[in-house]
Subunit: 450 residues, 2 copies
Amino acid sequence: MGRFTIEEMREMAKTIFLKAVSAVDPYQRLKTIARIDRNRLIIEENGTSQKVFNLSDFERVYLVGTGKASSSMAQAIEEIFGNRITKGLITTKYGHGLPLKYTEIIEAGHPLPDLKGLEGARKIKDLLKMTGPRDLVIFLISGGGSALLPLPVDGITLEEKQELTQLLLDCGADIKEINTIRKHISQIKGGWLARWAFPSTVITFILSDVVGDPLDVIASGPTVPDTSTFQDVWEILKKYSLINEIAISIRDHLQAGREGKKEETPKAGEDVFEKVHNMVIGSNIIALRAAEKEFSSAGFNTMILSSSIIGETKEAARFHGAIAREVASTGIPLNRPACILSGGETTVTIRGSGKGGRNQEFALAGAFEINGLEKAVLLSGGTDGTDGPTDAAGAIADHTTLIRASQKGLNPVKSLENNDSYPFFKRLDDLLITGPTRTNVMDVRMVLID
Amino acid sequence: MGRFTIEEMREMAKTIFLKAVSAVDPYQRLKTIARIDRNRLIIEENGTSQKVFNLSDFERVYLVGTGKASSSMAQAIEEIFGNRITKGLITTKYGHGLPLKYTEIIEAGHPLPDLKGLEGARKIKDLLKMTGPRDLVIFLISGGGSALLPLPVDGITLEEKQELTQLLLDCGADIKEINTIRKHISQIKGGWLARWAFPSTVITFILSDVVGDPLDVIASGPTVPDTSTFQDVWEILKKYSLINEIAISIRDHLQAGREGKKEETPKAGEDVFEKVHNMVIGSNIIALRAAEKEFSSAGFNTMILSSSIIGETKEAARFHGAIAREVASTGIPLNRPACILSGGETTVTIRGSGKGGRNQEFALAGAFEINGLEKAVLLSGGTDGTDGPTDAAGAIADHTTLIRASQKGLNPVKSLENNDSYPFFKRLDDLLITGPTRTNVMDVRMVLID
């Protein structure tokens, strides 16, 4: 019974996943929301004019950027601005460069920063320091931007900085504490990049790969005011008894900062940010909204649960399963055919030696949850097309997955226990394979119940 | 900003929690849905007539039952049927008896069954065996009914049965496997009670304390067809290598069953169930719906997420937090003022030595999730009025909880790590105290965002 066949539902899930990913393609997004009309830069979305910049106000236009998607973002800006671009420089991950006309590309190390990244960061800083009040800086940020634009303060080496991060991780410091310290030994993070670009006008286009899209966290917020101080840094070092463990160069710098002998990170309300415009152009919720629209058109009662689902993957699957079963049994919160969407990024506590990723594990754990329902499909995929160390973006499961698995002699309980979801879904031909997508706004999950 | 003050929201959460609990008071529920009119028993809900029984068809009416709420349920039936009741017998937990006019009460051991429960079960079986085709049996089931109505097959002692359960738990058998075996060594569970009442008419009123309200699981389904077989039992014993570990009496019985020398549990389609009517009169979703109605009237955009939330408590708090933050930042899935409701029963993996319960732990973990939101309240409570080994039903948290805690010198991180939520909320005067409620449909959680 129901409106759709299981094959239709599976096909729809896969197709709409790809559409959701397209909706956050940063190249497409920039081309959609930004255009130049009669020498004015218009940035608008959904017909609502957001911002207009008169280009005749500017003498020069600089294009800078960093992140794994920075070259396709730069392509869009080059197409929009054409030869208005005075000079451009971006850093991206090795192998991620694309042909650009006005912009130099420096490919660098990720996730571990290297000297190429350092070179790119230094060049960008030098470029920005030369800008004046009648210049426009377009700054492009995407995931990986933190590692791909490393520039410790003078006297501190990349290695010393990395050792510090490792020390902090080892003693259980949380990501907020780690970022507080990193921003205070960087010349880029924590608003510093805006500081160098001052007094020019800065438009930062951001592709968010962080839950909740906190601007000061994405790529460590190079053009965003910092809220922490050298004093906070000192408290953290004391808390974890690290003052005598860290490199002397770092300790001297932080000590000097604490004594007011070093400039603080730029703060909200300072002149630095007066002409800075930070704009999120792609994020998980945008992908979810695109999927919501598609499923609604297809006749599904559709609801976005949250774009911020984090936590242990198996538990997340339980939660989605609880909602799916409620839909199936009582029509709450949606009547069938129903579609529940969620986003964010869960974690997997590895207990086995298998091969998989958080999305495939979600689909496998979810297969137990929807087993026994009349008709249900579940899809989980990484919007970057990569799930864990596999060539799949995720996987698709339905209410027949466990039965089909047992017919093929697979043991889903053992596969799950061993974090071995990849071979499981490969055998069922239920992997979700997209190839690299040139974007990343974390994961998209769908549960369909008919 | 917002429509409500934080005090109003807190007050509303507490008041509506009590209303949700009232909505599943089994005495009230029975009085609402069942009545006798011109010698007909009418069972209806929301004005939709569900079932009508002509009482002149019956010679005798028997009232039997088991569970922690059986005496208040029996009170309602006595008030409805009056002296039409020929004979009555219920079992309940020590201290849970209430005055009854036509019905004998046997108080017995719970959660560990004892000889009093055995006595009650034997008497009920004997009573039912005497019933004929023109008799009506009203059977009342509530939480605890499994332990309070124990009757192993002849030759197996209560102790042997309990040892078996422990063995199964120790080797990691799941609840479904344990129930499969228990039903095959019982004279009550797995439809046996319906077997003894055959060929009378049986109306079973069920107060559900199990996620998803599976009739064959609540009190082990005494009037519900069983789907498992002696062969299934044998497979489970083999799977866990228990055949030579279990008591000889049990092994002999199960072996005989497997060889077809013992009667199977009653199955769907058999005559036994032809005149059996199982009706859930109270369940988690009913409580949630009552709360939904109240919050909607009060002006909140309200959504029931699921009545089946299980899993680790802290993880459940994360999901609710993810949804709350999405509501706060994007108005998805609901615009503010918004109310998200959920039910079910989570678990707590104990790592500390503190005092608390799953609801208080949910509120404590949730306090971190809603910290920083503009205005948010979170309540979690056990509908039976008891959360873990405490005198509280649960607790209430809001966006100021962590700040207020630090002002009082409390350490919420340590309290959570130590599973020590009770003293934490006691100190903040944020415990939810209701006293015993005479009902139990698991937990109700509310997240309010304005």
